[in-house]
Symmetry: C3
Subunit: 342 residues, 3 copies
């Protein structure tokens, strides 16, 4: 594809040779003379001098010596994401129902649905137009899946779950497994609480490989519009995950966690149940959140505190053995002073 | 269902109108005038004044103004769990063998077994009466599954594993995957240790979605009667999990962990191998347990210490930057005092 | 099998009766008079006096009273691993293609391949000689799997992934799921970045049950020769895991983590992205690694510091409440001294 064509398709400003032929996209270190690269993090600006890329996407105001063509973008990273989609699309299965799919006669399928080998669709399920369900997915009875959603192989959607439009499940995901709820009996044995609620994924939600989203005991677990969930994440029963929120890999939400909009929980963060995390909160990796967090806070540590306070306290933590000696020495010195006084 | 009928079925004491019609169950905040709610946590008692519930389950001695019918129960939460089961049962597949199930001719199936589409049953497997195995489960050779157990879709039970009666596996569970065992060879490469042991789930065990229970290298991994395991939990080879013990989501047990009876390990707790956790221990979320723990202890932090000590130390941790300054100032003040003295 | 035969097969030195009949292998505590046991950890040497084992594998120089036959090995643990493989081999499925396997006509299969029930093989996949793929595995288009590799039931290998020779996937593994990459749009909604890269597993890699290995956005995620990955591990897009490295259960690597050779990351360790962990590094359980780590370091804590420093600081952490009181008391005592002086 010619660079001029890319610029036109994406509405970017071209500086340099429009006829430059681009065959792919790569990082600044790896790109060759027919590849397009990008600079979004200013930290990597020096690489512009050493890269072999044929052309580079840069921000509107980045100053670069014009040794190669540039594409100017309001947001270089977003432009890169769009360019990448021009050059690569994963191989999608063809529309149509594989003859081995087992479809309950009461299920309703939209137009241009693609069902892979061994897909199982339960009673009264409603599958929207252009939905793709890859091999070995099990769709329990009463499920609704909105138009243009895409389920990768070996996923499970449990009874009565609702999935919106344009959602995407990576592999080995379960949506709607039973929540972890038991009541103690006088004998000490646990009595299972029927998980009578459901899960709702709103539109444009993506769930990463191996993640498990529990259904509510009563009511619903809800993942709001545009939320993105990484791999091996646990969402406990009755939780809500807000719009455009990111849950990174191995995050765990206990039951009835209310996570706001545009929140970022980094990898391995744990959230206790029955609390509220406000909009735009960021929790750094491995943070443990036992109590509600106010909007826009950045928190770290366990129990979670303000990120800056935690960073400072962590520095002192490393000096604790030295501080301990200092304090013991001070005790002796003060005792000596006190003794002399008498 | 009439309130009087519910009271009778569950043996609860009714205060108020037995003819009150109940159509479902909901939380105090959500319940409408034909729904039954419950109060188990005294913290929520004020909600009794604002709820729109048609009737409420309360403890035997809770004082409530009689504005609506009450069901008195020795344990309101347990009674709620029983009521919920009256109103909701998930849609179970019908008994019978789906024609697509692949069953080794040497396998033995009990009465009224339900095998879903594409279930695979290996050689010499023994499936008890009224067992349900949903779609896409793979049962390896030599497995035994006790009566009334229920395997949700896409689970795997590996060779020679024994599952007791009334066990329940949520989706994407593996029972009996190889433990993580290697011996270092002189070249530095790892030699895989055959995992020759097995896994035993005793009766009434439940395993959450995506959890992985490793088989022992020699001997067995054992999950004792009534233990409940949440989602994405790792049980390492040769571990024992005691009776009625709860392992919450994302807990990890390394190899040969011995976890006692009635233990609770909260979310994301990690347990090192070759140690013993006594009966009735509680570990709060994200605790890391490197050594054995005595019965009935409540532990927190990493490395795990007594919960109260950890809470106090955590409070001081947050003040470390301030303490650091205080100590530095004290050093100067003491030095000044020492100098004046001379 | 006679003890003399075992000694000969494994090249070990026998001390005692070569005709001693051995029927199996067990730990020192459990072994009976026809079982072989082993002593590798000197801590357990006293058990040699109490074990009922028929014979014991010990190191070359271990001093033992000769109350039973011994097998002398340069490395008793490695010898035990070899002996165990003599006595136990898991039941492998027979070679051959199960009639229910769905194989794209453009796929190429090597000699003596074993494909279980309901295996799905996509277009242009290349499956090497003697590869075993158990039930319900989904192999996407364009995948290459090297000779003698073994995929347990219910795994997924995504488009264009390359798996080397003698690799082993436990159950419910995904190799090649989409990485977690999004670019923020002016509206605040996330734009999915096509994950155009792939994953390469080199030879002799093992991946534990439920682990998820993401494909790169551009370029590749690479697991190098001989690396062993335990259960429920997350490997983020574009990461590299070095040769003979061990990632224990529930470890998480964020994107573009470069992990060196012979590294050990213990259970639940988290690694931030865009950093390098040098060769031979050890991180103890639950460590959080936000920055690069130099070769051969042993690190602990969050943020990760030198293990010995962390152990010392952790001891003082537990004394923080007492130290706090000491400091407050010192402040008063110093203030008293200062006042008297005036």
């Amino acid at each position: 594809m010619k660079l001029g064509e890319i610029a036109e398709k994406l509405g970017l400003t071209l500086e340099g040779n429009a006829d430059c032929e681009i065959t792919g996209v790569a990082g600044l270190d790896e790109a060759g003379p027919t590849e397009l690269s990008f600079l979004s993090n200013p930290r990597y600006a020096p690489k512009l001098k050493t890269t072999h890329a044929g052309a580079v996407i840069v921000g509107a105001k980045v100053q670069v010596e014009a040794t190669r063509p540039l594409l100017r973008a309001p947001d270089a990273y977003l432009a890169f994401a769009h360019v990448l989609a021009l050059f690569y699309q994963p191989p999608d299965p063809p529309p149509g129902i594989h003859p081995t799919a087992v479809i309950d006669p009461t299920a309703r399928l939209g137009d241009q649905v693609s069902l892979g080998p061994y897909v199982v669709i339960g009673a009264n399920a409603v599958i929207g137009d252009r939905v793709t369900i890859q091999a070995h997915c099990t769709i329990y009875p009463g499920v609704t899946i909105g138009a243009d959603s895409y389920l990768h192989a070996n996923c499970v959607v449990r009874e009565f779950v609702t999935i919106g439009a344009r959602c995407r499940l990576q592999n080995q995901v379960t949506v709607g497994s039973d929540g972890f709820g038991y009541a103690k009996q006088p004998s000490g044995a646990w009595f299972k609480i029927v998980q009578a609620g459901t899960v709702v994924l709103e539109d444009d939600v993506e769930i990463g490989a191996g993640s498990q989203i529990d259904r509510a005991s009563i009511g619903e677990t809800r993942i709001c519009r545009g939320a993105k969930i990484d791999n091996l994440v646990q969402v406990g029963h009755g939780s809500t995950v807000g719009e455009d929120t990111l849950l990174c890999a191995q995050v765990g939400l206990a039951g009835s966690s209310q996570v706001g909009n545009r929140v970022t929980l980094a990898g391995q963060v744990g959230v206790a149940g029955h609390l509220t995390i406000g909009d735009d909160v960021v929790a750094t990796a491995q943070t443990g959140i036992p109590n509600s967090v106010e909007p826009k806070k950045i928190v770290s540590g366990y129990p979670a505190i303000d990120n800056r306070d935690w960073l400072k306290a962590s520095v002192v933590f490393q000096k604790l053995p030295e501080l301990y000696k200092t304090i013991r020495a001070l005790q002796e010195r003060v005792a000596a002073l006190e003794q002399e006084k008498t």
